[in-house]
């Protein structure tokens, strides 16, 4: 029994160390963002939060249009999420509950895309976006997420188990057409699935870097991630100010994630284990 308890304590010690490593960057970001750079980069450094947060934010707002870029990111992330949820759930519902000629072939093609590294297409994507006059606009950021093979694949699995065929058949008997079956039967039944996919898409859109970096050629219209990277290039030695920006940029996501985390993690692992 004693050996058992010792093993348990060792387990918690290792897992606890992992938690500290997970959380430490967030703590240290707070420390850096609330102190002066000089206080952090002396020996020994200051290890606790200080009172300079507002000064640092002031300098941040003087150097870049922080909230403007955050506003752009919020608009892009929200629009992307609504768009992808609608397009993916409608397509997934069709694949899950309807047989039509070419269905299996089209779904196999979709899965093949899932396997392809996305960066293989990025150069022509930029050329196409430029030809369509979308380079430099936020609208260009809405297109690539739509071809989200993972979203449709995951959603199809979800709808197959969450929406019973009997329910669809009953709706058909009542004379409900295709769209009404989707909107009135499927959507209410798959709300938790939509919540998962919504967070997944929102986080990806919020954090995306390479595509905005390539396509947003107009320096007046940038996203939060681009603003952060530029801040570092221009003011890399003012660490407290850069970290104040970094902190403000990740707080919204951390709050959203913490709020939905339990269900989100359970759903995120389902796809992998089933394969």
């Amino acid at each position: 029994m004693r050996r058992f308890r010792a093993g348990r304590a060792a387990t918690h010690l290792v897992l606890g160390t992992g938690v500290v490593i997970s959380f430490f960057p967030f703590y240290w970001m707070v420390v850096m963002a609330t102190n002066t750079t000089a206080d952090i980069y002396r020996y020994p450094p200051k290890l606790t939060p200080g009172s300079h947060l507002l000064d640092n934010i002031h300098r941040l707002l003087d150097s870049i249009d922080f909230f403007g870029s955050m506003f752009n990111t919020v608009i892009v992330a929200c629009t992307t999420t609504v768009l992808v949820l609608f397009i993916d759930s409608l397509a997934a519902f069709t694949f899950a509950k309807y047989r039509f000629p070419g269905r299996n072939f089209l779904f196999a093609a979709l899965l093949a895309l899932y396997m392809l590294p996305t960066q293989l297409a990025i150069l022509p994507q930029f050329i196409i976006a430029s030809d369509l006059g979308l380079a430099g606009t936020l609208r260009a950021l809405l297109i690539p997420p739509i071809a989200n093979a993972f979203g449709i694949f995951w959603m199809r699995q979800y709808i197959t188990s969450a929406v019973p065929d009997e329910l669809i058949d009953a709706a058909k008997v009542d004379g409900a057409g295709f769209l009404r079956q989707y909107w009135q039967i499927a959507i209410p039944a798959i709300r938790p699935g939509l919540a998962f996919l919504g967070i997944y898409v929102f986080v990806a859109a919020w954090n995306d870097y390479i595509w905005p970096l390539i396509v947003l050629v107009n320096p007046d219209r940038i996203t939060l991630q681009l603003a952060l990277a530029q801040l570092n290039t221009a003011h890399g030695t003012d660490f407290s100010m850069v970290m104040a920006g970094t902190l403000l940029a990740i707080v919204p996501l951390v709050v959203i994630f913490a709020f939905f985390a339990r269900n989100f993690i359970a759903d995120a692992t389902k796809g992998a284990v089933r394969e």
Binding site: I21, Y41, P45, F100, L120, L228, T246, A272
Partner: protein
């Protein structure tokens, strides 16, 4: 008859069409267009010139390209294998029925949803100066200081650590989900036979988890070999103004970053396309190697 059959499904085709329009127009055609571009000379403005195999010939003799291949592979190895091993250990511990599992899960998953740019800026801040946090800790332990972002190998270690911080928890939680499908009777029977924890790990856990280990390996290969944001943000600068793109000695220049410089800083679309196709072949090669290794150990395991 057959045609009216297909036409009567127009609602279904319409429902899946937004996805497939973008899929074809923005993914499928671009992939082949990238291949086409790799045989051209083009700066995106003037006329395209057919270049035959010139881009690939140049690629084979370009020392910077081979440097980027080496960097990419070293960073991937450093950032993947220790990370997956630690993730497996964490998962086994979480599966041992410890309390607070939901709390642990959230804590371990959090790094994965944090923006890569933010994490790179944070790593820059703690590793960059000789007065940064990491060197302060080394000083406290009476260890020699390291110029982390100057030394070619240390640069790769920093990037690998950054990847590991973001992905260990994610993989641990994937493993945990797999472990929970292994029936506990197997462990009980092994325990009756006198097997210790290490033997049970090697002979029950690892073999039964093999499909999931393969899944995590492939995901890590595909994402790890495409690393771009880490070096781009850590050493943020364009090739045209700074010959040291990818850091001092170009030690952090990954293939994706080299592609980005050639295509978007030098407007050399043909050469960029050749680099990105080489990257794709490398990813394919490594995925096949992973697959074969895992499949072979499976055959050996059942013998």
């Amino acid at each position: 008859m057959r045609r009216t059959g297909i036409v009567s499904y127009w609602r279904q085709y319409l429902a899946i069409s937004p996805f497939f329009l973008v899929f074809v127009g923005f993914n499928l055609i671009p992939v082949f267009f990238t291949l086409y571009l790799a045989f051209q000379r083009w700066d995106g403005l003037g006329d395209m010139q057919f270049a035959g195999l010139d881009q690939f010939k140049f690629l084979i003799h370009d020392p910077t390209f081979w440097l980027s291949v080496r960097n990419t592979i070293i960073i991937w190895v450093l950032g993947t294998f220790p990370m997956l091993f630690v993730a497996l250990i964490i998962a086994v511990m979480l599966n041992a029925g410890v309390r607070f599992t939901p709390f642990y899960r959230i804590a371990y998953f959090l790094p994965n949803v944090t923006s890569l740019v933010a994490v790179a800026l944070f790593f820059f801040a703690i590793f960059s100066s000789s007065n940064g946090l990491v060197n302060a800790v080394l000083h406290l332990l009476h260890l020699p200081q390291v110029q982390w972002l100057q030394n070619p190998f240390a640069i790769k270690v920093v990037i690998a650590l950054l990847m590991s911080w973001q992905w260990t928890g994610y993989n641990a939680i994937i493993y945990l989900a797999g472990l929970q499908t292994i029936p506990s009777q197997l462990y009980e029977a092994a325990q009756l036979d006198g097997a210790g924890p290490v033997r049970m790990f090697r002979h029950i856990t690892v073999p039964l988890l093999r499909p999931i280990i393969l899944f995590t390996l492939i995901v890590s290969t595909v994402t790890g070999l495409q690393s771009f944001t880490e070096p781009q943000v850590l050493f943020g600068s364009t090739a045209s103004v700074n010959p040291n793109s990818g850091g001092p000695g170009q030690a952090g220049l990954t293939m994706m970053l080299y592609f980005y410089h050639q295509a978007f800083d030098n407007n050399d679309y043909g050469y960029g396309a050749a680099i990105v196709w080489a990257l794709f072949l490398l990813i394919l090669l490594f995925v096949v190697i992973n697959w074969r290794l895992v499949a072979r150990s499976e055959r050996r395991g059942t013998r």
